[in-house]
């Protein structure tokens, strides 16, 4: 668990700027959501944090120490990719133990750690199965398990609920929140879903065309922010009497759909 800070991060390919001067800070145990439409560079930021991509300028600090010179495998910032990237030739249990093996934790000790986290994720009965034998939701859980097992300093979630149906998506959201609270994990999650962002995030950053336009605590976003791009993206949020909220455009869609 750790503080993560991005300072003036800039990245481009073939002279085209993809990320421009992005700065934000995530405190220990906080869930920071990076939100924005598709194709604005959200995944690129996660890849810069993991070390898969190298920024053109700026810095990434973990507990105040720059990660730029630290190789990917030693950063402790573990990503759960959107496509899960489970290793198809290994069972869920062996997938989960892979990161432990890299840390020289093997055999019974590794099995014990995997089992503990598998119980937390509710998939202890799937440890002997291969990824191809799992549903989409189970694969996502297996990928989260694999990342949690190595107890990362920062857990990075790339669109974790995309492709999951409503009920499963809700279940997964609750599970991630529960795991985060129980283990005090620092999480950076990216999503294009404003519902997921507002429901889960402690702090939310809005990324548009590679620039971080606005950052605020989730609680402050129920009122107009004054930023036309953010307000346009969030739309009208209607407060309910029971303390809940709905997005006006979603209601409109339901009404139109009859």
């Amino acid at each position: 668990m750790a503080d993560l800070e991005l300072k003036g991060l800039t990245f481009g390919i073939n002279k085209k700027r993809i990320i421009e001067d992005v700065s934000f800070k995530v405190s220990e145990g906080e869930l920071f959501v990076l939100c924005g439409p598709s194709g604005v560079g959200k995944t690129t930021i996660l890849k810069l944090i993991t070390g898969e991509l190298i920024p053109d300028s700026g810095d990434i600090l973990l507990n105040g120490i720059s990660l730029l010179k630290v190789p990917m495998r030693k950063r402790g910032t573990v990503l759960v990719p959107q496509g899960n990237d489970l290793f198809p030739h290994l069972t869920v249990g062996k997938n989960a133990a892979f990161g432990l093996g890299a840390r020289h934790i093997r055999g019974k000790e590794a099995e014990g750690v995997v089992k503990t986290y598998a119980e937390k994720c509710g998939i202890e009965n799937l440890l002997g199965r291969y990824p191809s034998e799992l549903s989409g939701g189970q694969q996502k859980l297996a990928a989260i398990l694999r990342a949690l097992v190595v107890e990362p300093s920062v857990l990075l979630l790339d669109e974790p609920f995309t492709g999951l149906d409503g009920e499963l998506s809700r279940h997964m959201r609750e599970l991630v929140l529960k795991l985060q609270k129980e283990n005090g994990i620092t999480i950076v999650m990216i999503t294009h879903s404003k519902e997921d962002a507002l429901y889960m995030g402690d702090h939310i950053g809005f990324l548009f065309e590679g620039r971080l336009e606005f950052t605020a605590p989730a609680a402050d976003l129920f009122e107009k922010t004054g930023n036309p791009m953010v307000d346009g993206f969030l739309g009208e949020i209607v407060r309910m009497e029971n303390g809940g909220y709905v997005f006006a455009d979603k209601i409109l869609k339901s009404i139109t759909a009859g």
Binding site: M72, R73, P81, G83, F87, H89, T91, A102
Partner: protein, 264 residues
Amino acid sequence: MKNRNVFGVFLAVVFGILLFTPLVGMVIYSLFARWPREAYLPENFTLRGFEVFFKRDTATAVRSALFSAGVSVAALEIGIPAAKGLTALSGKLGTFFEGLLILPMMLPVVTVSIGSHKLFLALGFTGSAAVFVMHLYFSFPYAFKILYSAYRSPGESRICTAKNLGATDMRAFWLIEVPVFLPAYISAFVMGFVVSYSQYFVNLYLGGAEGVNFSLILSQLLTGADRNLASVYSLMYLFFGAVVIGISRSFQRLTLPKGRKLNG
């Protein structure tokens, strides 16, 4: 849906017959000395062709198969880093280099062989080594094309995931990259092998006495009048090729999860 299945089975049967019939002919010709035009059945059962093959050319057949397997392994060794490297290049530069690497597919074997022969002679580079380089030249693009397609697939991101989980380059390569890409390696190996194994002009032109391979012997027999011998050699050519391909496929089985069958 049902109609489509019936049509599929019909096509499979037709193609099966078309591919299988020449084999039946070859088997018959390999076991009989003659089959006169007016006779219903072949005449004079003989194992002469097999005797000749086993007495005279078994060593050449084995050597040819091993030589081509060696060429194909070399094509893999060059092709894997080339394919991985090329995935990092995007846009026109990537397309340009891909085109450059697969160019030998489109160049005529005769032209390249004659040109290379002149150059190799001037450099004093002859014999099996020269033949090896030329086989590699023609096999590489086929192997590379398969590897490049594989490395452009999402499988590549699993290597990054492995490193992100703490694996060293070596651990990520042996435990993730090799098993994930093994089917592509095997396909690339088989493709490279088939191209090299069927080369005869390169051996004829560049090889000299050292360069006699199975294809060269077979090409001479096929233009001759001895159908018995030509059929036996064709079957043996098929057999040795199938053995190498079979062995390479068995490597793939080693990495399959328990109880799984190999597709295709």
